[in-house]
Symmetry: C2
């Protein structure tokens, strides 16, 4: 490991167990089965019983680091997860990556048909914003509006959707490291960084704290992708729960193809160091959950 | 016409000319061309130089009727138009309606490919919510949050996306009039009613005014669809700017197939009466633009 434990011992499994249970219950409550004509079934299939819920955990950990509004963080965490889930549904479709396996199960379009998969993805994106703007005063309107803005930016043309467009256009091209970083900063990084910043937006922060959390989120987002590229080469499909070796088969540029496996592993460690250093310098009282989540991202095997 | 002009003479062409110019300029400014890898081009193609902009005009007219915040209404109008535009892009794709002509031009997937069309639709939906939640204080946070909630509900599983799922499931079935109304209330009605209510949410209203505007929006939304079904049978593709006779070819239930042409025309008139009566009873000072827009919806030929 990284050999630096800046704060009192912390049990990530215990911390995340409680929060994951809350997230799963909220997702099950909010992703409604009574949407018409099978749409609800497809939406629930895309979201429930799968996924590591890394993004909701990042939102909640950042919210706790700034002692923010818990209801806002739960909603924001679920909203980010819905955006992530919808992007996987659309990404797996035949006109995109054409994948049939996800989280060890048939992909949504395989199970429900392409048209329903398209609609389920669209409805999940709308539901994400619905979750962020509840009636009543449990979440102040200023936080609701800020969260909507941040999620829209992270998900849209300047973030995830833009990164996917670059990804599409890059098939068969040889990108250099800077171009690859730019693609991933948008494609996966924007939503991970956005998760951290949305959590922070559930409470009060000063500019220095926000800058530190942004540096953490950015390094973690990139580390996540580097590790993803490594696992695509080194893990098997059963462990990954999705088709391994897919990037290489599709002739997509990856960190492994650009840097090689050894240098990619070292780069993931450097990024982890960078993320943890940003936390250490943040001045925030308790960043242990964020710290442990960053280590988990780099040490995961799926 | 309907033979009832409750307020001073009103020139819809003059009124809407000024507002349309504002909407077109705002859409052109906000739907950015610099999104990466051709995504911006596909987004702009889907949105600009086409469409009657009925939804933005409804938002603005309702906002003016309640003397609301103009900047909020411009943003809400453009946001609703982006949702409408994205739904057309996805709806035209081969796995849905498989249409190649829209507003007299090749559809987005024909021009840019299916993957880019999918992403452009996704990015347009995200941009809609981004427009509703600008930084700064030109639009109060409480209005931003309310508009996000209303748009998400109108676009999602309980609204447009849900209606499209019913539409998909209904191909080849014979629906009765109640089922057909339920489908259209969601598929096209929710966003039209939502346009009116979002405009109203840009200002202050009492419960009676909101109920009247909702009744107006609901009747107008249904009238719009009845007229659409009539035009699908009676107009040619050149006038419509999209493929005529498509519903019948695809064996989709329509008002014309359920009620017949004559009864459908009478029903559109009844709904117009209902919409105008709701306005008359609203107690709002100036509903002339809303009045004229309802008449335009029923009297249009494309």
């Amino acid at each position: 490991m990284i050999g630096r434990v800046p704060q009192a011992a912390f049990d990530l499994a215990e911390w995340s167990g409680i929060r994951l249970a809350r997230v799963e219950r909220a997702l099950s409550d909010w992703v409604v089965a009574d949407a018409p004509a099978g749409l609800g079934d497809a939406m629930r299939y895309a979201v429930l019983d799968g996924g590591k819920r890394l993004r909701p955990l990042l939102v909640i950990a950042a919210c706790e680091a700034v002692a923010g509004n818990e209801e806002a963080a739960l909603r924001a965490g679920c909203a980010v997860e819905l955006i992530h889930a919808y992007s996987l549904v659309h990404d797996d479709m035949p006109c995109m990556d054409n994948d049939i396996l996800r989280r060890g199960k048939p992909t949504v379009h395989v199970k429900f048909g392409q048209a329903q998969a398209l609609l389920a993805g669209d409805a999940l994106q709308a539901l994400a914003f619905e979750l962020l703007a509840p009636e009543g005063d449990a979440v102040p309107a200023s936080i609701q509006a800020t969260l909507c803005r941040m999620l829209a930016c992270a998900a849209g043309h300047a973030g995830m959707a833009g990164g996917q467009a670059i990804d599409l256009a890059s098939i068969g091209l040889s990108l250099d490291e800077a171009q690859l970083r730019e693609m991933h900063r948008r494609k996966t990084g924007a939503l991970l960084e956005g998760s951290v910043m949305m959590g922070a937006a559930c409470g009060r922060t000063d500019a220095g704290e926000r800058a530190a959390l942004r540096a953490y989120g950015r390094a973690l987002g990139l580390a996540f992708q580097v590790v993803d590229d490594i696992l695509d080469v080194t893990a098997d499909s059963a462990t990954l729960g999705k088709t391994a070796g897919k990037d290489a088969d599709q002739n997509k540029p990856t960190y492994v193809s650009v840097l090689g496996l050894e240098r990619s592993r070292a780069y993931a460690r450097e990024l982890l160091d960078e993320a943890l250093a940003a936390l250490d310098g943040s001045g925030l009282a308790d960043t242990r959950a964020l710290h442990a989540l960053a280590i988990m991202v780099v040490d995961r095997d799926n």
